[in-house]
Structures are given as C-alpha cells and as structure tokens.
Symmetry: C3
Subunit: 682 residues, 3 copies
C-alpha cells in the first residue's frame, strides 16, 4: 500500500463512497482510479448506519468487502470515523445530542453536523462506534491512516444546546475557580451582570439587541475550541490503541472557533485541508472587481495550513468539478487547466498529498451538484483526462516531495486576536483590511511569507533565524509573554511592523487603563494621543513617508514618538494633518515601525518595498502580477512554482537558465505561460 | 338569476361583504351594482362567526336576510365556505389546528390562513360548518354557485404543524409501503439519513444550513398538494349533496405547491383566478427597467389558468383600485383606462366572467388600502364610471362569449418540474429565465401560445393536432410516459424544442447514471459531454445558428450529435468555443431541437422566428411590441383582442377591413389606440 | 451643592460609574471634573447588585462612601434607580420578569433592558429596591435629584411576555368594558377575528405574513405607552415620599411607543434627553448625500424635547467621544469643535443643563467603544481641553439661562398619528417625507419652530398667541376635539397648513365612510375626489402655484374646492393634470391650505416663503444654509445662537452691531465662523 507524506513522493487520492454505489461498480472504479494516478481513497465519514444500523447492533461486512476489494486493487485506504452524521435512530431517541440555535431551537436530522460535542450521551455513542470500528478494521492491510469525523466546526461553529451550557459552566469553573474571579474577568459590574451562582451562567442567549457581554463571548469561543479539540482527542485516544504502526491520524478542513494548531499537537499526526478555490466564481461572487483575488485567495488559506501543520500536510478534498448544493451555491465548472492549477497551488504551498473530491458525482442528496471527477454518467470526461495529465506532471516534480516552503517574512497571528476580531466589529474591520492587503501585496510582489501563530510560536531566536521581518498588524490583545518574545526578536535584529489599535486589550478583552499601544509602547516608542475611525464623510486619509504617499485606511492612531523613536510619516489631511502617522524606533539590533492605520493593499506594497521584501527572487524571475511565485527547498535544490491565475497567457522572464521540470528541458529568457498554466523550475 | 359561464354572455360581478356594512346599505349597494352592470356578488368567505358565533351554535338569519335582498335585487350570489379564517373560539380552544413555522412556532389568530389542512379536528369542524351552511342555504334561488374556502395556499404554502408530520407519515406509508423503499427513494444513504422507524420521519425541520434532503422535500411538496386537494374535496363532496342542479363549485386564486389541474378535475366545475396586475407598479417594483413586463405579465398567469380549467374560467377577483395592506404593499391607483385594460386582458385570455374586488373599500382591518370600486366615502367616482363603460363594451363583444383561445404553439410543463425548480436553485435559474423569455418573446411577436401540463396531457395525437411546435425548455425530471408521448408527437410531425439540463433527474429528483439528456437522448440525438454555469467572470456566451447570433444564457450544455442528428449551432466563446450548442434531429415526420442554454427573451425570439411562430397574424395586423394580440374563436368567427399596455398611444395597422366591435364600424389602415386602450375586431 | 435648571445658570455634568473604578480613583476624578467645569454627576443606573447583591440582602456602604466623597468634593449628585438591569439572581430565579420576542422567545440576562414592565413580580422587586434606596440615600446632602431607570423603551419598545398579554387584557377591559365594544373598535368582523372570550385576546403574535389587525396593534402601542408610564409612576410615587424638598425627579432619553409628555406630567419634574449627534457619521451612514442633514438633525429631536418638557429640560447624556458597541455602531471621534457645537446645539434649543456621557471610557463590557471624555488611559486629552473651553463659553452666555426658545410657527403632532405612522406603512411614507422636509427647510431658512402635541395642547387662544401659522401635515387620524381646536385657531386668525391623506381615519384607525379630508373637510374647503401613490413608473408630480413649481411627492390627493374655497395650485402632469393640488380657504380671520402631496424639503421651502415664515431674522442676519439660527429670549434680551455644522468656515453677515458673548466685543458686518464654530450674540 502506498503511504502518504513520506517525503519521497507526491501522491494523489480520491474521496469515495462505497455505500453510494452498487457493489458491482467497486472493482472497476478502483481500477480506473489507479489507472489515472490515484493511489489512495478516503471512505466512511458519513457511514455510521453501515456499522450500527440500529442501536447496539454492529455489522462490519460491508466495509470488510470494500477493504478487501481495495487491497486487491492495491489501493490505500484512509478510513474515517462516521461521527459527523449521527443516525436517525440516535437523534430521534436522544434529542439532547442535537445542536441548537441561540434561541434554543433544536437542529434536526436531515442534513449533517447537527450534533453537539458536549452531550455526555453523544460522547458515549461516539466512543463506542469509534472503538468498534477501530477494533475491527484497524489491522486491515489496505488501511494507511484515519480521519476523525469530517470537517469539525464546518456548517456552524456555535453550539447552544443545554449540554453546552452545562459544559461551559464546568469550563469556567476550571478556568476561574470562583464566581468572583469570573465576575472580575468578564467585567460583569458593567450593566449589572454580576453572577451570584454558577447556575446563572449560560452560553450566550438572545438579548434585546443581540449583544452579549464580549468577555463572556470570548470565553465562550475558547470553550468551543476546547470542546472541539477534546472531542477530537476522545476519538484519537481510542484510535491510537488499535491502529497499526505507521498508520496516521488526521482530520480535514480548517474551520473557525478552533485552535487547529493545538488540535494537531494533541490528536493528529498531521493536518489535511479541503481546498475549493472555485467558490471564487460562484454566481453570488463578483470576480470581475479589480480587488477580487479569486481562486488565488486560496493560497492564503494554504499558508495558514502550513502554519498549523509544520510537519507537512495534505489536501483531503481538492476540487475537481462545479460545486453546489441543491439549495445554494451555484458554481461553474472548472475551466480546462484549473484543476491542474489548483492542484499545483496546493503543492506549491507545501502539500505532498492531494486527494480529489470526489471520484464520481453523487446521484442523490443535498450535494447532487457538488461534482466529482466523473459526472453521473460515469464516462471518461475532460476532467478525468486532466487528472491523468496532472499525474504525469506529479511524476516530473517528484523531487520536490518533502521540500520546505521558503518565506521571506512572517505575518504573526494568535487565536486570541483572531477570535476577538470575530466578536469585535471594530477589530474586525482593521483586521480584514490588513490581512487581505498584506497577503495580496505579497502575492503581487512575489514575496512568499509564512503565518506564525504566537500561541504556538518558536522562541525569539528561531523566529529571527527564519524571518528578518514580521508584521503583527492589529494585535488588540497583548500578553506579557508575547511582548517579551517580540522584544527579544527585535533585540536580535528583527524588524517588527505594527498597525493601529495595537495593545488596546488584555487577555479577557477588557481595556486596561494604560497608554496605547499598551504593552508595546516601550518597544515601539509610539504614544497614541488620539484615535478615530475614518468616517464616510471624510476623504481618504493620506500619509507621507519619505516623499511617498500611502493611505491610512479604516482607523487612525494619532502618534507622538517616545524616547529615541521618531516620526517618519505624517498625516496629510483630516483634523490631524501634520501629526504623526508612522513612528520608527530602534531597539538593540532591530527596528520597529508603528503605523497608525490599516494596511490596505497599496499601503502594504509600500511597506514591502521599503523593507526590501518585495520581489525577493527578482534576480531570477520577472513575473507579471497575475502570477504567484512559490519556492520550496530540499537539501540544496530550490523548486520554483509559477502559477498563472489569469484566463489570458502570462509572459514571464527567466533571467538565468533553469530546468523546466514538466519537460525536463533547460530554458531561459521570455516564456509564455498558458491561461491557468503552471511551471516548476529548478 | 343570471348564471355565469354559460357560453352566451360575458358577465361582471363584485366581491361583497354584507357583514362589513350596516344592513341598511345593502339594498342601495345591490341597486347601484346592477345599475352599473354587475349581476353577481360573491359573499361569506370570511364569515364563519356569522354562522357559528360560538362552538356548536349555528345561526343563519344574517345571510338569509342578505340572500333575500339579493333575490329581490335580481342579483346572483356566489356563496363561499368560510374556512379560510377559523374563529377565535376555535383557534384558542384547539391550537392543534394552527399552522406552524418550520421551527414549530405556531401561527396565531389575528390575520388569515393560519390553520393547517391535516388536523383531524379542523377537518371535523370544516365538515360541520360546510354541511350546516350547505344544508341551510343551498336551495336559495339567489345562489348560482359556490366557492370553497378562499385562495388555498395563499400567504403560505408550507405547513409544519404536528398534524402535518403525522399526515406526512401516512402519505409516505401509502406511497412507499416500507421504510426500505422510502430510504431508497430519498437516497438516505447520503449523509447517513437512513430511517429505521416511521416515527423518525418528519416534515422538513431546521437544519444547520437550512438545507434538507431534496428528495424528502420533493415528497413533502407533493404531500402539501395532496393535503390541499383532499381538503378541497372534503368540502366539495359535502356541497355536492346539497346544491341545486346547475349550481357550480369553484375556488379562486392560483397558488403554488398545489396541482390545480387535478383539484379542478376532482372537486370543481371550473376554476377562477384572482387578477391583480397592479402589483407591477408597487413602490418596491422597478417597472422602468427595459426588461420589466409590468401588468402585461398577468397574461402569463391567465394562460396558466386556461390550462388548469380548459372548460372555461372566470376571474373571481379583478383589481379595481390601489392595493395594499397597512403593513406592506404600497400601490398606486390604476390609471384611467387600466381597469378596462385588465378586464379585457382577462377576457382576451379566455375569461367569460369577471368579478371585481371589491364593491367598496374596507373601512377596517389589514386591508384598508386594498381598494374596491368605491372609496370609503361611497360616492360615485371615476372608477365606477369606468366600470359602467366596461359594461357597455362587454355588451359590444358578447358574441365572443364561449369562444376559444387560439394558440400557435405550446409550452409544456409538469408539476414535478415546477416543484423541483422551487427547491433546486440550479433548476430555478434556467426555468425562470426561459419561462419569462419565451412568454415575453411570444407577446412581443404577437404569437399566442398555450401551456400544456403533461401531468394531465391529451394524448400525442391531440397534442399534435393543436400544436405544431412545443417547447419543453428544462425538464430536468423526465418519466418514461412523458418521453413516450413526446416521441409519438414528433413521429406524427411535431417539432419539439428542448433546452439545457433536460433529463438530469428521475421522478424522485435523483440523478440516474446515464448520459444526458437521459431519457430524451435518443429522440433529441444530443449527447451532453460537459456542462457549466456561466460564471460572473465570463462574458455572455454566444451561439451562432445559420449566421444568426443568440445568447446561451445562465447554463451551458456542450453537445455532440448522435446518429442522424447534427450540430446546427456552435458556441462562439468560452472554453467550449467551436463546440456544439444546438443539435437538430429528425424522427418520423417531426423535428427536435436541443439547445444548450436557457431561452433569454432575445434568444427565444430567434427560435420563434426560425420556427415560423412569430407574427402568426402578420397578414392582418402590424402591431407595435407594446400591444398584446389575443385571438378567440367561436364557430367561424375570430375575435381579435388588441391591448395597449403602454402609457403612450400605439399605432396599429389593419391590413384588411374589419369590424371594430366597440363602435360597430368597419375600419382598416392605420389606427391609433389610446394609452391603455383596447380594441376587439372581427 | 449646585442645583440645576434654576433659571440662573447653565451647568455641566458628567455620567460617572463609581462601581467601574477602583475607589482610590474617586477623589481625583471628582477633583478633575470640578476643575474642568463639571458640577454634577449622575450615578447608579446600572448598579442594582451594589444595593441588593442577593435577594433581600441590602447593602448601602458603597454609595454612602461615594456620596460622601462627592460631598467632600462639592459635587452634586443625580442618583438613579437601578431598574434598567435586573440582577442575575432575579432573572434566573424568576424568568417571568423577562421580556420576550413576538414568538415567545425569552430575552436573556447578559445585556440590558431585558425585563418587562407588567410582571407583578418585577413591579414588586422594583418597588422594594426603589423604596430601600430612597429611604437610605434621599436625605444625603450631595443629592440634588433622581433619575428613574435608564432610557425607558430604549433597545426595544415592544413587549411580548405572558405578563404583557395578561396586562393587555386588563387594559382592554378597562378601555372597552365589553368584548362587543372591543370587537367593534377593532373591526374584528374583517377576516373573522371576532373575540368571544377575553382569554382569546393576546398581544400581537406571529401570523402568516407578519401582519396583525391594525386596530389591535394601535391599542397595543397605547398599552405599551400606558405600561411604561405607570412603571415610571410606580417609582416616582415612592421616591416622592422620601426625597428632600427641592430635589427633582427626571428620566432620560426620548423613545418611542411612549407618551413622553404625559409621563412628564404624571411623574417627572422635567425631562432630560440623551444627545448623540455623531450617529450621523457612523460607518453605515452616508453623510455625503446632498439630502443628509447629519448631526444637525439632532436639533429636530431637541425641539421635540422642548415640547415634552416646556418647564425646561436638560441633557443627561451629551456625546463627548466616538460611540459604538463591540458588536455594532462604528463611529469616528468627534472632530475638534464638534463637542462644543453639539453642546451649544443643546443649549440653543433650550437646555440649561448638559451632562456629558461619560467621564472616562469604560474598560469593559459591550460599550468599550462608547467613549467618554477621557480615554482608557485617563490622561488629559484634547476632548478634556475642549470641555474646559466649553466651560469658559458657558460662563460667557450665562445670561441666557432660563431664557425661552422663540419659534415663528408650529408643527402640530399627536401620539395617535405618530403611532399610526409606525404601524401603517402608507402613513409612514408621507409622514417621514414631510417631517424631514419641513424641519430641513426651516433650518435652511433660519426659521425656528416648535412642535406642539395636540394631545397636550394649549387652548386655541394660547396656540394662536404663539404661532401665527401651524402645519399639521398628515393627520390621518382626527378627533372632533382636535378639529374644534383647529377651527377656533383659524377663526382667530391663524393659518393652518394641511397635507395629503388628512382625515382618513378615526381614533381606532378605521376609515369612516365620509368624504376626505373627513372632519377637516368643512374647515379646509377641500374635497378629495381621487388619490394615488406616485408609482415608480411615474415622473415626479409637479404643482403650479402662482407661477412657482413645487413637487407633490409620495402620494397625491386630487382636489376640488367646496363653498368659498378655491384652487390655488394645480397638477401639471400625471393623469390628474390640470386638477386641483392646493386648495385655499378662509374662515373667520384665518386661512387654511390643503396641499395634495407630502412636503418634500424644496416643497416645504416654497410654503415657508409664501407664508412669510422664511428668514424671520433676515433684517439682522444673513446666514448661509449650513448655519442654524436659534433664538432664546429672557425678559427683553434676545440671545442669537449661530451654529456652523459645516467642516468649512461659514461667512455670516451681521446687519446691525451686536455683542459677541464669547468675546464680549461689539461686532457687525461680515464675520467668518470657523468650521463647527458657534457664536452667541445679544
């Protein structure tokens, strides 16, 4: 059986649903997969009823037959726990296992992900089905690894059942010990919310203007993350007892209200992502807008995945066809070349395993339009032909397997700020603008970068060794530990770039009585005297920096320098015309910039250029903005991936001779990349 | 008493609410109605409390007095069963009779249509009130017919009470017999929805992303249609026992999730429609858009009604004033001439009875702004004067009574596809575009057409005899029976026009593993190799057909010909440039076109012209696009109705001398029709 | 202790939350307030738990200490009852006290204003906490007055708990005595809503199309107003027993579904308003539109407050910083000068007490972004500096304290029509257009006016003495009493201006069978023959009046004159071209105009000019449209407030020499007012 992520091969897979098809189709399906380069299938994530058709009655024949067929076809199998869709007998008999809306309305059987993680009963049923399955199938030679559940926190990442309230109380007791500590942490003295008994504490519930104490919501999100992780760990702990040596445990998708990094550390061998770049072309999108980054935006997500799973990662579901439900999401078919483009996008960003969703389009259910490689008719089609071609390309670039993505700088994040930006609309606005702005500017200036989560950060030394510059755009929440790390990083010679609103909050989301940017005031040398949103009645606010003009979008901090720091950028308009907009400071061997606005794309581009981050491979390539450049390194070889996201050809210039891995030929000079075309050079 | 729909007269009526007015007004009201041409009143559809003021206590005096007054005034009466608004004592005592929202919230007393059809209790109360009323009033000489309930499925066509769940289970047991059959039909193996006990089966309920198994929803809609029909039949069966010979049973309005055709067959003598063309001018409409078809769109609905009730039909509520509720719908007054226009629109499309809503505007309740002919003040007004003028015109065209609408082609439909297009957003998009496109192109090229529902179709011979060409634009669901009928129709010499997505599904809404267009592949000679939505990032997709260019909107099938078929239209752009867009085939004496897109208005116009359907009366008339032409035939006389929907005068050309029925004069040559003007020529 | 609203000083205050801060901060906070001109603090409106931390256990130490600190700092205190936020132990133990959504979902602890006014239990808890607090604190020398609750009916003005239904029934029994009378008043015969037992009557509940009998809703709004007032009176009656002589009772904010005028008469010594003009610049506003009146719109509200509290009023919360919740409302900081501008706006409109919200920005809770004067850091900032400057200006204009606003005309209102315009969408459209149009035209032509509520009107004589002209734009509901008052007013020589739709309804909201404008037909001499909305398909409807053209927006009455009246304006287009649009009548010494449309801004301007109301101080000032002129009079002195709402300087011309109170200098001729600048001249 072919094993994935061994560092020596890039492999392809497919999602397959044996229970959806007549068994007579299996053998032929497996044969055609293999013939077209697929060496792995993922199965069983929605198949609970195939294992436990009624409560307590277990049957294993069905997947025994399938696994034997896979073995016979030399097809590796990733086996799933089926907990994402509890059976009807369970939801009907035990409605307490259901998730609820905030107002208490139970979510019903008939779709998926309608359960909650905290029902003791559901945990018991989960443990039993996982144990039974593991016990029975784990030793099967076709199996190479396991997927937990399916897309944890997909569809919804909020839980309001009674079980959740009970578990939330336990979470809070564990965290705070006493109600006094909880009242202090949540600032319940505001609007008289003081709790006098644990029974008074609930998950967020309907209020008059749909607003609930933000510190309570912050802890509620942390609680959801904890619940999700512990639910994953419940399953992985059981599986570990049974799986064969060398078999892996993973889960798929990257969803919110969840510390994915920690889940990987606690429960998984590596992470897999579900990549659907075609969402960018759905009927309710407007991809023609100048600012729309279309399918290329997916590279941002893949960079996050790389951060979550530094040990390497795979794509468990890679888009192969039009996507859609019968009730929503109307998407076109991928254009010829796009399946290749999206596969190479995944690989360029670090994936060495790409499993396509799905082998053949479902003939039934909500996802009849969520197409697979094959259409309903089962005949060979142009998408299968493209898959076959991808398989050839994969062979050409197999040397890249196990190579490491090369980033020129890092964008720092942490879950506290990610979650705060969800619940805090003021935070959200600057965060969205800057995250999108920096990503897009980096893409357009061919400057690969990494995400680094400070929750799970390396020490300052390791950080500095990898990244001479880090952006930490709007860390409203700061902790002493993170600030210490940043101070050390700068002392060693790192360059730290901060944006407006930094340091406003403590870990609870409350705003300490300090001068801004709070814990980072000393390091940044910036003092925020005043601040304001840019109102719809205002003109765009412009900053001058060494003769360059850049916009300070969304929100403005009005700055003065402290100590050795100095103003290097000033506002050109609004009531703070002439006041400080950009403060520069030095500390040890390093530098700190504090910018009083959000990093809009063009603004971020100015920073990348001024800090020498733009076009890091400009000595080798001259590339149009429409092309992504990604670089992976293995031993001494650098693999340059060039991806053309445009529907028109792209002209690229190789300033030195290199090898085109698809053709094996040495090439240089002006080269035209076809629409949606990709190349890999060494 | 004047009887309606006897084929010898076109008659006018009014909706009247004796219970809304002081009895002293009745005599004068009836006298003024008669004076202005109204010979029929409809009464009692919301008057339950007048018959049964408290549970089990029945009183009949009130309507006895009214019926006697009507008799004395020589006014015919259409009497209604009052079940559309159960009394407060009933809803309060027996909340189980109420309809509910999907989340279970009961709908409350205080508006209308808040009951469900499946509560046994409500059926018992219904049977009793209908029986009591029929028993008491049926022999009254003023009564000429009966209306069941009022606007079944208006306001809402979804029902989620507990009674509905119970009845849904019974419906399914009857349909499938076993849970195995149901699981198979609904594809419950997808997302592990397999049912193991009937108690697990419910009407659709809230799910995480508001999506419920589509096959279950399809059966749920069929169940609603069944419930509604059986509720109507419950009432008509009782009425039939009591009504006088010659008196009719009807109901009014044309609402969704209901097989109106079958309801007519089972329970009614004919169908009546409620026509409110002024919706097109409400404040939330945008009638200035070039594509907006305004009040003329109502002719589409009337064509549907003609299909539902081939034995003839009436208008039970024809708009006479501004419409609106106090909470929504802000509509202007009809312009002078528009009441006449809309009346003639109804008659032109086949109605021989037009009853105006309502005699006098309500002085109370939610509908204080749903104006009648008279305003609150009760004085003669311009609308009453227009009514008087309409009455004169009606006399002039009385020869047309009983005549039959003449259609040059048919648009085929069936409830399976109508309902599937409601629940399937992919289906809905092509359906809406083509239904609107073909209707508007037909109107603008003065090419009258019929709807034919294949659920209740004539045999192929009858179809071919009436219609040389039929469109069946996007029949995603096909059945063998319907395909057989189409094959016979084409063999005989008919021309069949199909559009993209045809044949995708079976009767359950699942997608069989066949090549598209599925059951129609043989007849059409088309093979769909690939398909895609037209994405917002794409240019409009153009097809070339014999040197003409037409757009293939919304969704594209990429085609190859089979057997004797050939490509006659090719795509000019997108990734399938040069591939087949229109396949032409011949079978027997007939022809089949398969077009790979939706029929946008301009596209439909190309088809009408190419197939010789446009301007079928072009030898007689030259008409501007703003005028509708409708033709009714009786014995050897053809009645040409010309309706000017524009607020400016329309120039029409009569190429031969004809009689203008309004004036009795012989006319020919260039004629100017006033704004909103109408003419009838023989 | 400084007392407010004594007619001899204009005083400043601040909202302060002792419970939000470490006690060690109090002394310094109070000292800095005093230093910057603040002489009053409001406290305790959300501090229930500080008084009754658990049920029945009362503690008073905390505010004893604070009051003593205030006394020591010579700071006056406005003490609040804390009922706007019931404690967690109360809501948890007695959920019946909670408010509910229309569908019955209870609103939960975690925000504010989640209680209902009608729960007997909550009234009992309220009475107890108010009594305990009053008993204990009332005699404290620092206290100068009391605020009831906080912002009654803020957040929501609808109540759907079971307690509300029970109380609604009692309200209706009191009002109607019998169900027959109720059925008659509500027109329940429409749609068969007749009630046969009181138990059937509920507050509005979900119905199929979210529409409930409008007469029932009208009484429901009256019931809410009654509930709110009686809840306020419950508190004030208790407080009156304990407070010191000379101490006042007030409440704050001006919210809907509430007869504020009557509440003031029954329970308060005067009214206070919460003024947040910066809402006009929030991110979801579009202040750049030509028609947007931005922060200046607040003057409209202040005029309402003046009407509510003719004995004088204060501002309890005057905006000092950016406003916002963490979940919504993103607002910029006030520009330099705007805090002054808004303070002077309040004073110009009649406020002699301005209390700023809040001293220091909250460090916690939903309102972390609802900024106070000071930022989180507590340091002196530019807003504090502006406050200090305001304090200086206040000293300069202290002579104006106790002066009375001078209005040239009145806009008549009454709660019946205000409430009807909320529930009746047809009414709402004309009402909004005209209220905004007349206000803006008055502002732009520097013509100060008053609101007069006819519910609480002076007699005709008093009305005429103050206002030579009154507008009563769209009184759909008329009563005989109000019509009599208007007749007397006109007879005396007053000019009455009416707009379309007048007189349509009676007090229940039903439409009597009379000619329009109903009870005002005789006085106006207008007869409405026909009427219509202006549809989106129509051009703007233009009226000619003495050669001037003005638009008759939204809705048109088509008019004929009666008796001595005559048509002075005619329609120039639409189907009623040439028909009457403006009827003029004389009665006694007075005049009546009936205009057949809504008063759009430019239309209202024509009326102001024709009636000689524009630029009443044009002999003294020539002002740009961007400046508001307000005039207050005391004895023989006239205080002219000029406020520049523009971000650019304004050129004003003083045609005679006057004293600039800020500088004390005599000035005349051309003067430039800085951006957001204000002046007061005598």
């Amino acid at each position: 059986m072919e094993k994935i992520l061994q560092g020596n091969k890039i492999l392809l897979g497919a999602c397959y649903y044996p229970e959806h098809w007549d068994e007579s189709l299996w053998e032929e399906d497996l044969r055609r997969m293999k013939e077209n380069g697929i060496s792995t299938v993922r199965v069983a994530e929605f198949a609970w009823s195939k294992f436990e058709p009624t409560e307590g009655h277990f049957t294993f024949d069905f997947f025994d037959r399938f696994l034997d067929a896979a073995k016979a076809a030399d097809m590796s199998v990733i086996f799933c726990t089926p907990t994402a869709t509890p059976p009807a007998w369970l939801t009907n008999q035990y409605p307490e296992i259901l998730n609820a809306r905030m107002d208490g309305t139970l979510l019903s059987h008939g779709a998926r992900r309608h359960y909650n993680y905290n029902s003791h009963l559901y945990r018991r049923f989960t443990a039993k089905i996982v144990e039974k399955i593991a016990e029975h199938y784990a030793k099967h030679p076709a199996i190479i690894g396991w997927q937990l559940d399916n897309e944890l926190n997909c569809e919804t990442d909020e839980f309001y059942s009674e079980s959740d309230t009970i578990a939330f109380r336990e979470f809070l007791k564990g965290k705070y010990g006493t109600l006094d500590a909880l009242n202090e942490a949540w600032g319940t003295v505001f609007w008289n919310q003081t709790y006098t008994a644990w029974a008074e504490v609930e998950v967020p519930r309907p209020t008059v203007s749909n607003s609930v104490n933000p510190h309570r919501v912050m802890d509620y999100i942390r609680f959801i993350s904890d619940s999700t992780r512990s639910y994953a760990k419940l399953q992985s702990d059981i599986l570990r007892k049974y799986i064969k040596a060398g078999d892996f445990i993973t889960t798929n998708g990257m969803f919110s209200n969840l510390d994915n990094h920690l889940m990987v550390k606690e429960s998984l061998d590596f992470f897999t992502y579900d990549s659907y770049p075609n969402f960018a072309y759905c009927l309710d999108e407007e991809p023609r807008s100048y600012m729309h980054f279309k399918d290329r935006q997916c590279s941002r997500n893949l960079s996050e995945v790389r951060s979550i799973s530094p040990q390497g990662f795979g794509i468990m579901e890679q888009q192969t066809g039009p996507n859609g439900w019968n009730t929503r999401i109307q998407a076109p078919a991928p254009k010829p070349g796009q399946i290749t483009l999206w596969t190479m996008q995944s690989i360029a960003q670090g994936a060495d395993f790409v499993s396509y969703f799905r082998w053949r389009t479902s003939t039934m259910g909500t996802e009849i339009y969520w197409h697979g490689i094959l259409d309903y008719s089962n005949r060979d089609n142009r998408r299968l032909a493209e898959l076959k071609d991808i398989f050839k390309k994969i062979q050409c670039i197999k040397g890249a397997a196990g190579s490491v993505y090369q980033a020129g700088f890092a964008l720092l994040k942490d879950y506290d700020n990610v979650w705060d930006a969800r619940l805090d609309k003021w935070h959200e606005l600057v965060e969205k603008e800057s995250e999108s702005g920096i990503f897009q500017a980096a893409q357009m200036s061919h400057a690969p970068f990494d995400y680094v989560y400070l929750d799970h950060a390396p020490d300052a030394q390791a950080l500095f060794k990898k990244y001479p510059v880090v952006f930490y755009p709007h860390a409203l929440l700061l902790t002493k530990e993170r600030v210490l790390l940043l101070e050390e990083y700068v002392q060693m010679g790192g360059t730290l770039v901060l944006g407006c609103r930094t340091g406003l909050k403590d870990i609870t989301g409350k705003c300490p009585m300090h001068k801004l940017p709070g814990l980072l005031q000393k390091l940044s040398g910036a003092d925020v005297l005043d601040y304001t949103f840019v109102s719809p009645d205002d003109e765009a606010v412009i900053v001058e920096w060494d003769g360059l003009e850049l916009e300070a979008a969304v929100f403005n901090d009005i700055l003065e320098p402290l100590g050795s720091a100095k103003i290097v950028g000033t506002y050109k308009n609004n009531y703070y015309e002439g006041k400080g907009a950009l403060v520069y400071n030095e500390a040890g061997k390093g530098k700190v910039y504090y910018f009083g606005g959000a990093f809009k794309r063009e603004t971020a581009m100015v920073f990348l250029k001024k800090l020498g981050l733009a076009e890091p491979y400009g000595g080798i390539f001259e590339l149009p903005e429409s092309c992504e450049l990604a670089v992976r390194k293995k031993e001494n070889a650098l693999y340059y991936f060039i991806l053309n996201y445009s529907k028109t050809p792209a002209k690229i210039l190789l300033k030195k001779e290199m090898q085109d891995l698809y053709t094996g030929k040495r090439v240089s000079g002006s080269i035209e990349l076809e629409p949606y075309g990709t190349s890999v050079y060494v």
